[in-house]
Amino acid sequence: MVRTFDPNLSLEAADLACIRDDRVLFEHLGFTLATGELLMLEGRNGSGKTSLLRILCSIRLPDAGAVWWCGEEVQRLGPDYHEQLSYVGHKDGIKQDLTPEENLRMARALGRPSPELDIPEALELFGLYGFEDVPTRTLSAGQQRRVALARLVATEAPLWILDEPFTSLDRDGIGVFESVMETHLERGGMIVMTTHHRVALEGERVKRINLTA
């Protein structure tokens, strides 16, 4: 029996603005995301997608507006909000000198460990079986990306915030990660992501925001 997340979770943003080097990237941006929904951010390079993701993570302060998690402002929640989210950014966020297993162990220490998958299972899911005890620096870029993505399933967070997760993945890797996202949404998880790939997820649960428009 697969555990599902609390169905009352929600991520809400209102009136967000981001100004960078006195250029307005976006303003008056808002959305609501409920459980089981995916939010796709689209837009040209430099349209502020990464900045928006970082605002949603609470790494960056918005120049106006606010983000709420279940009705509470995320800046005020702090670690209580971070516990609910996993972020995979431009940078993989893994240590080159550590093995994939050690990297995932640290990720589990910082967040909430997944009760369903242990570390070898998470690595196996991403086709890294047999690589768990070599230094990550010896792996290819695509494999390193897989380690970063394995963090998502090795920990248990309802909200995933992903910045171009498909970068340097091969077709097989893309397929694996799409099915992982599918499972996450079915469990009642939420995803906010940017990508230039066409994603095989469709339907009502996929929302889109175009920042260029």
Binding site: P79, E83, K91, K95, Q96, D97, L110
Partner: protein, 227 residues
């Protein structure tokens, strides 16, 4: 499954940083060499008169320790910033200030403790009398953690900058002045056989203050640097 307790996460982070330092152990020796090198250069510059060295010795050891600490500071957050693990730390379920404390402690263990261990050797080179050696070691044991903690705030403020080195020293060195004054005066007093209690107590008080305040300031600084 709920999140680990914060002390457990801190312990794991400490372990991770020590492991990383161990895997790059060739780099560990550099600040230490720097420390010894400065202490060797001073007598060559000012002359090897043992009376002169005795009066200047405590100050030289401490200035050398200060510079060695400064040199090694950049590594507290730099590599974590570059590979994105710092973001992951900021987004953890634990208070960032405590994770910072664990990181600084790890950094002190691999850069500060070796300085303390070789300091008697430097003391001999600078003709510090042997009765002052315990005080020299004690002053370093109390003082170098303060240097690491204050330094961490400076590094946290400059970690996003491309050329951080010179600015870092401008930010951090003035704040090191009290440690320098009390620590070298303790060693000085000990070599002339005077009581050193007050200086060491003040250093201990600075350590307590730095442990409680610096991680909070460093966490706030990291939040600014990453945004």
């Amino acid at each position: 499954m709920s999140a680990l307790s914060t002390p457990r996460a801190m312990a794991l982070l400490l372990r991770r940083d020590l492991l990383l330092a161990y895997r790059r152990r060739a780099e560990l020796i550099n600040p230490l060499l720097f420390f010894v090198l400065i202490a060797t250069l001073f007598p060559l510059g000012v002359g090897a008169d043992s009376r002169l060295l005795q009066t200047a010795g405590p100050g030289i050891v401490w200035v050398a320790a200060l510079l060695a600490a400064l040199l090694s500071l950049d590594s507290v957050f730099r590599s974590d910033f570059e590979d994105g693990t710092l973001e992951q730390l900021m987004l953890s379920a634990h208070p960032v200030s405590l994770l910072v404390l664990a990181k600084v402690f790890a950094h002190w263990l691999v850069t500060g403790v070796p300085l303390i261990l070789v300091s008697p050797l430097i003391g001999v080179l600078l003709s510090i009398p042997s009765r002052a050696m315990p005080v020299l070691v004690a002053s370093l044991a109390l003082g170098t953690p303060v240097l690491s903690l204050i330094g961490a705030v400076g590094v946290a403020l400059t970690v996003g900058l491309r050329r951080a080195g010179i600015i870092l020293s401008l930010l951090v060195l003035p704040l090191y002045v009290p440690v320098l004054i009390f620590a070298s005066s303790a060693v000085d007093a000990a070599s002339s056989g005077l009581p050193v209690g007050p200086q060491l107590y003040i250093l201990a008080a600075m350590l307590v203050a730095a442990v409680s305040l610096a991680p909070v300031a460093a966490a706030a600084s990291l939040r600014v640097s990453l945004s």
